[in-house]
Amino acid sequence: MEKYLYIALFAPLASSLFVALFAARPKMLFTGIVASLLIGVSMIASFILLIDVNNYGPLHVTMMDWISAGNLSIPFGFVVDEVSVIMMVTVTLVSTIVHIYSIGYMDHDKSFNRFFSYLSAFVFSMMILVMSDNFVGLFIGWEGVGLCSWLLIGFWYHKHSASWAANEAFIMNRIADLGMLMGLFLIYWQLGSFQYDVVFANVKHLDPAIITTIGIFLFIGAMGKSAQFPLHTWLADAMEGPTPVSALIHAATMVTAGVYLVIRCGELYTLIPHVGFAIASLGAFVALFAASMALVNNDLKRIIAYSTLSQLGYMFVAAGLGAYWIALFHLMTHAFFKSLLFLGAGNVMHAMHDELNIKKMGGLYGSMKATAILMSIASVALAGIYPFAGFFSKDKILEVAFNEGAYFLWFALFIGAGLTAFYSFRLVMLVFFGEKEYKKQGLHPHEAQNFVIYALVPLGLLAIVAGFFEHAFHGFVTKLLRNYEIHIDHGVEAILIAATLGIAISGIAFAIYMYKRGGFPKSLEERACYKILSNQYFIPYAYERFIMKPFTALSHFFWVSIDTKIIDATVDLIARVFYKSGEKARKMQSGNLSDMLRWMVMGIVVLLIFAILYRPTV
């Protein structure tokens, strides 16, 4: 069994390093194929582990020691249990598909090899993140995925916007990482270990105030990676990266790491329900907040990015309220349909020659039937329509909110479900149906290569059927995670489901109805609320204005005014005092013997006076 663990973990690393050998060379097809194969191997190993864990229980190995100093000892240890194996399967499955897809997508890119090296490195980091048996190991993966995300967002580094977005993502994540580090330090000094099993076994003996602090610090870390408000702006900007990256990193895997962390620390968050509730509230807020921005955006990828943000909010609601298995379930189903959505969007972008404005598309159904169908499936799943995957997981989250008596959260999520349905179908309608706006630009869109479409089919299938695994999934993960039962009357439950389905369907219907007739009137765009939404609540503007600008100004002030004009000037001033007094004193040295003798006499007199005045006591 250990063998499969190492294969699953290191196959991506092997892939990355092997491909890196050819990174500087022009495109070589085999790099993509080898990388895809190795990631596929990792996926197969993960599936084997899934079966093994199901049959024999978790697997825990310690590979070697890493850091030890004082009382601190951190090994490279890996654990494959019910939670991590689900993450592994999800990650490797989506990664394999994205790798295969990228062979087609990056076909014409001159840095083809480099791309696969980064992409595999990302998979490796993500595997470390989910498989580690201690918090610092998780932090390795945490930072590793951050690095790969930086590399991949800025993949087309010649574009200013891409490298800017990459830096923004890295720095925003670093802010959150500091919070996480603080949480880790606190855990260490309270419990003396970073191992999950030790920490979770002993955490309940701690003072509740300290548990609360740990919970808050760790969640700050999760907020950065999962792009929760107010650290959310990087996710939309991260869409500068190649589309497969957006699908893999910024939809399916990395951004869910924060949710994974909260699920993993379920034992801890169970002890502090008030923090959990705060997490859930923030999640619900983000669910609505992001969905509202998705409503008016015209950028194909940004819409999906905001939708990801919103869905992450849903996951945090479930995780915050203690329904960890439901959060994990939504994480998994979301990974399938959201990556499908992104990859479909990638096909559209290719067909449109990297045009991203959905207002300039329209009517692509005619030329891209397969993509249109796949994206529609993903959108339906996202909207949460029975029997697609999203229905099962998202509906459960609403039920959890209702069950906990958090009716306000439930209502927010309920509205969010409607908005989700609307913007998903706004996108589908504007891209695939309606007027063929692209003709004005003289484009001739074409469908992606066949193997690309075939690669997407498994995701499409999963987006449809994944929901039916709910019971098996529940039984499997609750061996480790705290079970969460929903106690709502069947009648009420039926009404809730009906209401949620109702609002989702009406959202879809409204979108289809409006955009069939050519969309909303232009005058709407002049309204203040539209402006607020399309400018993302002016938050990026505010960050620029109130954080970046003052920071730059302050840095300059420190350098020019304080460092140069005060500190260094003081140092030079001291030097100059000596220098000037020397300059003055050299007049003494006139070269005239009489003068010198006079100075000498004066010196003797002064010394004599000292000799007379100073009487040693001894």
């Binding site: 890493w66 850091i67 010649h158 490298s163 990459a166 840095s555 500190i567």
Partner: protein
């Protein structure tokens, strides 16, 4: 083996004397050979080093002026062992990468003499000798900056020399006073550090002595606000000077804290813990922000050194094994990483004769190898896990967390600000389009440069993944030192703080 330390100290100097006879064409090969032998000697030292013995090893003792307690006293323990290796390693790498034609012989001989002084500082246990090596290290550096630097080299060299020299004058007074105290207490003179360790000093005296030593170390580290010589020195120094300055000379200051301030004056160290920590935090944040405002690549790295040294100081004053071990490891990692970064800047300077970021842009497409190695070093510098930079930074901050979580958080902003200035530097010089015509034809790294850089890259990765042999050796000596500090502290509160800082759990 019993004279290996003497050999380590004086071999470079002897070789330098012989080097006067070597002709100009072969002096480079000669220097690389000498520094390689020196490096292998230090590796032999490590191999022969007994990792289960926390005390001084390879001790050599020879009484020079017994009536005044002056002796020739060498020894190495876990704290200094790796600093010695760092010194020999960096010198070797810097000599391999050396790319200066003018008066190369003089330069190389200066570097070899400097190596003697640096190794001497780390292995000597007699304080008078320590002071001598400490000051001696200034002279070759003065010469290196003053003779091979850029336009304002003389100003920078003199500033460097006078500033650090003035700082250490007070230390000499402190040393003499310490010896006097020892004489009063025991009736014999001694300048041997292990003897001094045994001495309990009254609290107020400790405060004064701590202050006297502190200034010398603070200027060297350099701590805010005594740091302004550093940007000038780095800005003007030739590449080899910057590498050695950043990698080794700064470490002498932080080594001084660990070797002298903490074990000699435990009560004073605890008493001054908060002020020092506040200064360290100012260093971290302030230097990081100033680094962000720089336009010259080399200045960015120079200020980043100050910022990182802030974390080193913070870790040292954590008063626990985690923090101090971490800070010593961070000294090593910062030596390697900043040395490599200065070397990289030097390589691009050799090609373009400018260090301003605005003159570059898009280098990633012209020089992919250079950009890759730069990127690795950058990630190590911002402390990415599995690179060497993470281990020390993590441990230092973790250690200081026990003292104060608020201050750790403030210092932790260094990891954010570090990412800010480093990534901005990288973006401005490596990303974007190639706008300057001259940059389009730049050559990627050549074989000589790769020979110098690849060992650094390898170390960054290897010690990032498996730092344990180094850490455990350091840790043992650090723990011994902490026990000593706890025993000889005169105030009960100091003892309590040290014990508390080293205990997991509790109410804080």
């Amino acid at each position: 083996m019993e004279h290996i330390l003497s050999l380590l100290v004086f071999f470079p100097a002897m070789a330098a004397l012989l080097g006067f006879m070597v002709n100009k064409e072969s002096i480079r090969a000669y220097a690389i050979g000498v520094s390689a032998i020196e490096f292998f000697l230090s590796i032999i030292l490590w191999i022969g080093f007994d990792a289960s013995n926390a005390g001084y090893q390879f001790v050599e003792y020879f009484a020079l002026i017994p009536s005044y307690g002056m002796s020739y006293y060498l020894g190495v323990d876990g704290i200094s062992l790796f600093l010695v290796i760092l010194t020999t390693f960096t010198t070797m790498i810097a000599l391999i990468a050396l790319n200066i034609e003018k008066d190369i012989k003089n330069l190389i001989l200066s570097v070899l003499f400097l190596e003697m002084a640096m190794v001497g500082v780390f292995v000597i246990l007699d304080i008078i000798w320590f002071y001598a090596f400490w000051e001696l290290s200034l002279v070759p550096m003065l010469y290196i900056i003053g003779a091979w630097g850029s336009t304002r080299r003389v100003y920078a060299a003199i500033k460097f020399f006078l500033y650090t020299f003035a700082g250490s004058i007070l230390m000499l007074v402190g040393i003499l006073y310490m010896a006097h105290l020892y004489y009063q207490a025991t009736g014999v003179w001694s300048f041997a550090l292990p003897d001094w360790y045994m001495m309990q000093i009254p609290f107020t005296t400790q405060l004064w002595l701590f202050g006297a030593f502190f200034l010398a170390f603070a200027v060297k580290v350099p701590m805010f606000p005594f740091h302004t010589w550093l940007p000038y020195a780095h800005g003007q120094a030739p590449t080899i000077g910057s590498i050695i300055l950043a990698a080794v000379l700064l470490k002498m200051g932080s080594y001084g804290f660990v070797r002298f301030s903490l074990p000699l004056f435990p009560d004073a160290s605890v008493y001054f813990l908060m002020p020092v920590a506040i200064v360290a935090i100012i260093m971290v944040i302030y230097a990081a922000m100033v680094a962000y405002a720089q336009e010259d690549m080399k200045q960015v790295i120079a200020y980043s050194s100050i910022s990182h040294m802030g974390i080193v100081v913070l870790g040292t004053f954590a008063m626990n094994a985690e923090g101090i071990t971490g800070s010593i490891f961070l000294m090593l990692s910062h030596g390697i990483v900043s040395g490599a970064l200065f070397m990289l800047v030097g390589m691009i300077y050799d090609r373009r004769h400018t260090k301003l970021m605005k003159d570059f842009g898009g280098l990633a497409s012209v020089m992919p190898g250079f950009a890759t190695i730069y990127g690795i070093m950058l990630m190590a510098s911002v402390g990415l896990p599995l690179t060497i930079g993470f281990v020390g930074e993590f441990l230092s901050l973790a250690g200081f967390y026990r003292i104060s979580w608020v201050m750790t958080m403030l210092a932790g902003t260094g990891i954010i600000l570090g990412a800010v200035y480093m990534l901005v530097l990288y973006k401005r010089s490596f990303f974007g389009a190639v706008v300057h015509e001259e940059n389009k034809t730049l050559k990627d790294l050549n074989a000589k440069e790769l020979t110098a850089l690849i060992p650094l890259v390898a170390l960054v990765v290897i010690l990032g993944i498996y730092p344990k042999p180094v850490l455990s050796t350091i840790d043992m000596s650090v723990q011994k030192m902490l026990v000593l500090m706890e025993q000889k502290a005169v105030e009960q509160s100091t003892k309590d703080l040290i014990i508390n800082a080293n205990t997991v759990g509790g109410t804080k």
